[in-house]
Amino acid sequence: MTTERADALAAPHGGNCADGWRTYGDDAQERVGFFTDTSICIGCKACEVACKEWNDVPDDGFAFTGQSYDNTGALGANTWRHVAFIEQDRPVRVPDATPPAPHPPGGDTGAADGFRWLMSSDVCKHCTHAACLDVCPTGSLFRTEYGTVVVQEDICNGCGYCVPACPFGVLDRRERPNASVVKPDGRVHKCTLCYDRLKVGEEPACARACPTDSIQFGELDELRRRADRRLEKLRAEGWADAHLYGRDPHDGVGGFGAFFLLLDRPEVYGLPPDPVVATRHLGEMWRWAAAAAGAVVALVAAVFAGGRR
């Protein structure tokens, strides 16, 4: 399998190859994704709303969390784009010029100087090596011809194997009742990178809406080049902690299809610092699959047994 995975890195159109992408042969399109540049994210949440408007995603409940201005909490079945807000007692960049006096008269007036408010729009990473894809027993999760990872709602049976497999906690079943008309269905729902829009040549809804172009959509190779240039500029301007997260094709998931420019360590944003595809050890995976198959058989038998009663 190792050989096969290495072989898979030869992409149809250059760049590194996502699992399953080659299966489209000549029908494979350029691999596309998102580059989310958090240095220009204004935290407006247009991405969250645009996603819901396009994909008819129901609301996530009306609860005040107190987590700064974040009231949707995390990515989930009902939130496919999620903006995190992090308030920190430190400056956003280290200025090269003479800094202003550290404190206004009277001492602790706090935020006037060394304070920053980080905002970042999170999304499914559309991993190159996606564990969710590997563990899905029904074929609901699949790699599209664009190199993205999509849940097929007509196939998903809500088994939930993909949920713990995802190192980012993206996959989630729609179970919680909410105020909207869409009923909880127990199935898994997540970002499709607007698969339906891609097919007609439209960019995903979140990237289309983003007022500052913090969310950029495009061919992954081009996005990576753009991100490298961007990082270089920011570093030169004194944004000392700026770095790219998920850009590296040699990381634990083979790089993200949707990667980020962050201004602090990933943990600060609630992201794993070194995500690893849970199915790296495939033998283990097969054991799970066997167990799963056994469980399915047992379940089916139980259902039939119950049905005859």
């Binding site: 204004i42 407006c44 949440k45 201005y69 009277g106 602790d108 706090g110 935020a111």
Partner: protein, 836 residues
């Protein structure tokens, strides 16, 4: 300053972010650390209500360090003009200008005039007593000829405007700014230097403001202060410069231009006054300016009357001028609210506004609604203003029962923007047309439908009336073609009337210079004349940005006046008509062609050369010299000192808010002496402590919006995808205040003023911080005002807390700086309690 652009105008903010990426410094001077602060290169925290102290500091810095753009200031502003000998500054009179009448609380501006000029009697009357809101759009002051009589181009004379400014602001030192505003002197100086460095021939800087500046008892003077800074730095009428007002509603600019305001007729023409002049001649004589474009006021007014009354307006009946209603006092929104409570108003129509939670002192508004005979609410939703009789904090608290409220209520469902044709005027004066995509469902109808058919039904009832009072209404033209099953009137036909026609040919007018005072033109709003030029809906133009010739995109929509994108853009060239610099080239004089040209429609008569000098008896625009860009002013100059048109002083002065945390550090005169308080039992004012931070209401409160909601929530608390993003009312407090008052993050608090108290969730955050006044710590509480009792998410309404103390020029309330108290816990029953 006074704006939270990233949160409230996010898509406009993309351009700010681009400027930042290209190296611009973005200063956010604001009491709170907001999403705008987070994106700015610099955040300077100042106390709510201290902006004039800060801006005055900038003026003083510019003048003391000689940082003004001297050539621009000398040529284009009234800096060299001498003011009369009787003028006395606030520095002479301990916080008052000369001309103050303590009894009426108003100023007589005659001592503020240019030396050697008599103030025109009626013009002075016009500006006092009755609102001078029209002065904001209409020239305001009055000059009898285009050139002031006495000037000192060296700017040395002690009575010239330049020296008066120096004297007025000399105590606004960096230390004063720091002590009054609560920022550091170093931060202020860094900003002042950066601003000056970004101004001049090669560079320009811009100010952006919103209701953070207007909602004060000195709101107009806030903006005036910025105007002085920008005129001194040469940033007006130039690309990348200016003072940009970011307005909050899709067509709030339009509803000021074609005003639904008591004291204005379309195009900032003042509403006739009952006492001051009998006929049209008297009206024009009292209100026009002999020089500048306001010199054509008669043509604008006669054309409006011809649009209103058609052929029934004739020279013999004074063009129907006598039919218009007359005002004689302040009848602005809040006065009307009090008139409702006092029982003089019988019926009330509310269309797309929600005063029960959206206006200051919500309890007074709900009491007003309960005092009416009948109420019509036109809205997309059953908002608080429609449901006040059974769903309000007062009903919840058992203070009043529906059975006790005699108001008859009609809730009329409205059509939204996808369901009707029409134009919005955006914040840059750009008219953009939206086309109906679908037909409204059920009983939903546009306002166009409602007002057209209502007018038709009222006309049916009065068409045979012999009464004199109905004569004018019967003469009103009311013929608009309708279409479709709903008999929807044609919005474009209305736009055509707004644009106007040449009545001799029937052809659409091409622009306001064509308007005549002899009754041969009709025009429903002179500043919009040209929007339907050649019979084409110019507001519907949508040439894609990538096909436009210049970045000004002149073929997208239509901007008033005359499709100009930057007002007074002749100032982007020097006296001789050459661009100040190549990189700031915008509009310039082409000597070979003998015309002004550039990237925008020149805001100047296109063939008037830079060396044009008016004759002694020249009138209107002919009296403006070729090197005076501010063509709406009588002298063609930008006014650093305003002799007429602003009722509370010729120069902005730091006054404390009506409800301030303490005394004024500058003067014994604490707050704006000309401010307007509504003294009514429903509108008590918090006492002002002698020592900052003491008394029953020791903290400062300021209200605002969040990105996720819209105004009082009528268009966002009704939408699930928005409601979930900010689901509950909360207050924002600093850790220091939380500790002082025992507030818990995520817990509950009760915020109170003398008007009411409400409960909110608590957000403890380092984004808020206390301020320092006279060595004492004063805390600041942030209150978003989006919530009410209706919709998917509900909560306490911040506007129940705010009071009504108003700016005397425009009658806008001070909801950006007030005082309050806070305590942990909840209200019994979740409702509010209050004074009304």
């Amino acid at each position: 300053m006074g704006s939270n652009m990233a949160e409230n105008h996010p898509v406009g903010f993309q351009w700010v972010m681009e400027a930042r990426e290209r190296g611009a410094r973005i200063f956010h001077v604001d009491p709170r650390f907001t999403r705008t602060s987070a994106m700015a290169t610099d955040h300077i925290r100042i106390r709510p209500g201290s902006d004039i102290a800060y801006l005055g500091g900038l003026i003083n810095f510019i003048l003391e360090h000689g940082r003004e753009f001297r050539e621009y200031v000398t040529a284009y502003t009234n800096a060299p003009v001498l003011i009369g000998e009787d003028f006395r500054d606030t520095e002479d009179l301990d916080g008052l200008f000369s001309g103050y009448d303590a009894e009426s609380g108003t100023y007589d501006p005659s001592s503020w005039q240019y030396a050697g000029m008599e103030m025109h009697g009626a013009a002075g009357q016009r500006e006092s007593g009755v609102s001078a809101a029209h002065a904001a759009g209409g020239g305001g002051g009055r000059l009898e000829s285009g050139e002031p009589p006495e000037e000192d181009p060296t700017l040395e004379h002690p009575r010239c405007v330049f020296q008066l400014l120096r004297k007025h602001y000399r105590r606004y030192t960096p230390q004063f700014v720091a002590e009054t505003c609560g920022c550091s002197a170093d931060q202020f100086l860094d900003h002042a230097n950066a601003l000056c460095d970004a101004s001049g021939r090669e560079r320009t800087g811009a100010f952006v403001y919103s209701v953070g500046w207007t909602q004060h008892t000195v709101g107009v003077q806030y903006i005036r202060a910025a105007a002085i800074v920008q005129l001194l730095l040469g940033n007006m009428g130039r690309p990348g410069g200016g003072i940009l007002a970011l307005r909050g509603h899709a067509s709030i600019q339009g509803s000021t231009d074609i005003p639904t305001l008591y004291n204005l007729l379309p195009g900032y023409l003042p509403m006739p006054h009952a006492e001051r002049y009998g006929d049209l001649d008297g009206y024009v004589a009292a209100n026009e300016q002999p020089t500048g474009w306001w010199g054509n006021m008669r043509a604008y007014m006669v054309s409006l009357l011809r649009a209103y009354y058609g052929q029934r307006a004739t020279a013999d009946n004074d063009w129907g001028f006598g039919w218009l209603p007359r005002i004689d006092k302040d009848d602005s929104a809040y006065r009307t609210t009090m008139a409702m409570i006092d029982g003089t108003v019988k019926g009330f129509i509310v269309a797309g506004e929600n005063p029960a939670v959206g206006n200051a002192n919500g309890r007074a508004h709900r009491k007003a609604l309960a005092s009416l005979d009948w109420l019509v609410v036109r809205d997309l939703f059953e908002i608080e203003t429609a449901a006040f009789w059974y769903d309000s904090p007062e009903v919840a608290a058992g203070e009043i029962r529906p059975e006790d409220i005699g108001t008859e209520v009609f809730l009329m469902p409205a059509a939204d923007h996808t369901e009707k044709d029409g134009s919005f005027t955006n914040t840059q004066r750009l008219l953009q047309w939206h086309h109906a995509a679908v037909q409204p469902k059920g009983d939903c109808r546009s306002e166009l439908w409602f007002y057209y058919h209502l007018g038709r039904l009222v006309k049916e009832r009065l068409e045979d009336s012999p009464l004199q009072r109905d004569e004018g209404f019967r003469a009103l033209t009311w013929d608009y073609p309708t279409h479709g099953a709903h008999e929807e009137p044609s919005a474009e036909a209305v736009l055509a009337e707004i644009n106007g026609w040449d009545l001799t040919t029937g052809e659409p007018l091409g622009g306001f210079p064509q308007l005549k005072d002899d009754g041969t033109t009709a025009c429903g709003c002179w500043i919009y004349c040209g929007v339907h030029a050649e019979g084409v809906n110019q507001a519907a133009r949508r040439k894609p940005r990538w096909e436009q010739e210049h970045y000004t995109a002149l073929e997208w929509g239509w901007a008033w006046p005359a499709n100009r994108r930057i007002l007074y853009n002749r100032a982007s060239a020097d006296r001789d008509g050459r661009p100040w610099s190549d990189r700031k080239r915008y509009v310039w004089w082409d000597a070979d062609e003998g015309r002004w040209t550039g990237y925008d429609v020149p805001d100047f008569e296109v063939s008037k050369p830079p060396d044009y000098r008016p004759s002694e008896d020249a009138r209107a625009q002919d009296a403006i010299a070729g090197d005076h860009p501010f063509v709406m002013q009588g002298d063609g100059r930008g006014w650093l000192f305003v002799p007429q048109g602003v009722v509370d002083g010729p120069m902005p002065t730091h006054y404390e808010p009506a409800e301030s945390p303490g005394p004024n550090p500058l003067y014994r005169q604490r707050a704006n002496p000309a401010r307007q308080d509504i003294e009514h039992r429903t509108n008590p004012e918090n006492p002002v402590p002698d020592v900052p931070g003491e008394g029953p209401y020791p903290h400062i409160a300021t209200t605002y919006r969040l990105t996720e909601h819209h105004t009082a929530g009528g268009m966002s608390r009704t939408v699930a995808v928005l409601s979930e993003l900010q689901p509950e009312m909360f207050c924002e407090v600093s850790p220091a205040l939380a500790e002082l008052e025992g507030l818990e993050h995520g817990g509950w608090a009760v915020v109170s003023t003398s008007r009411a108290e409400i409960e909110t969730r608590v957000m403890v955050t380092h984004r808020m911080a206390p301020t320092e006044i006279g060595g004492r710590t004063v805390h600041v509480i942030g209150l978003p005002y989006h919530w009410g009792s209706r919709g998917l998410v509900t909560g306490g309404s911040a506007n129940d807390l705010t009071g009504i103390a108003m700016d005397p020029n425009v009658h806008i309330q001070e909801s950006k700086a007030l005082t309050c108290a806070i305590r942990p816990g909840r209200l019994a029953g979740g409702g509010g309690r209050g004074a009304a």
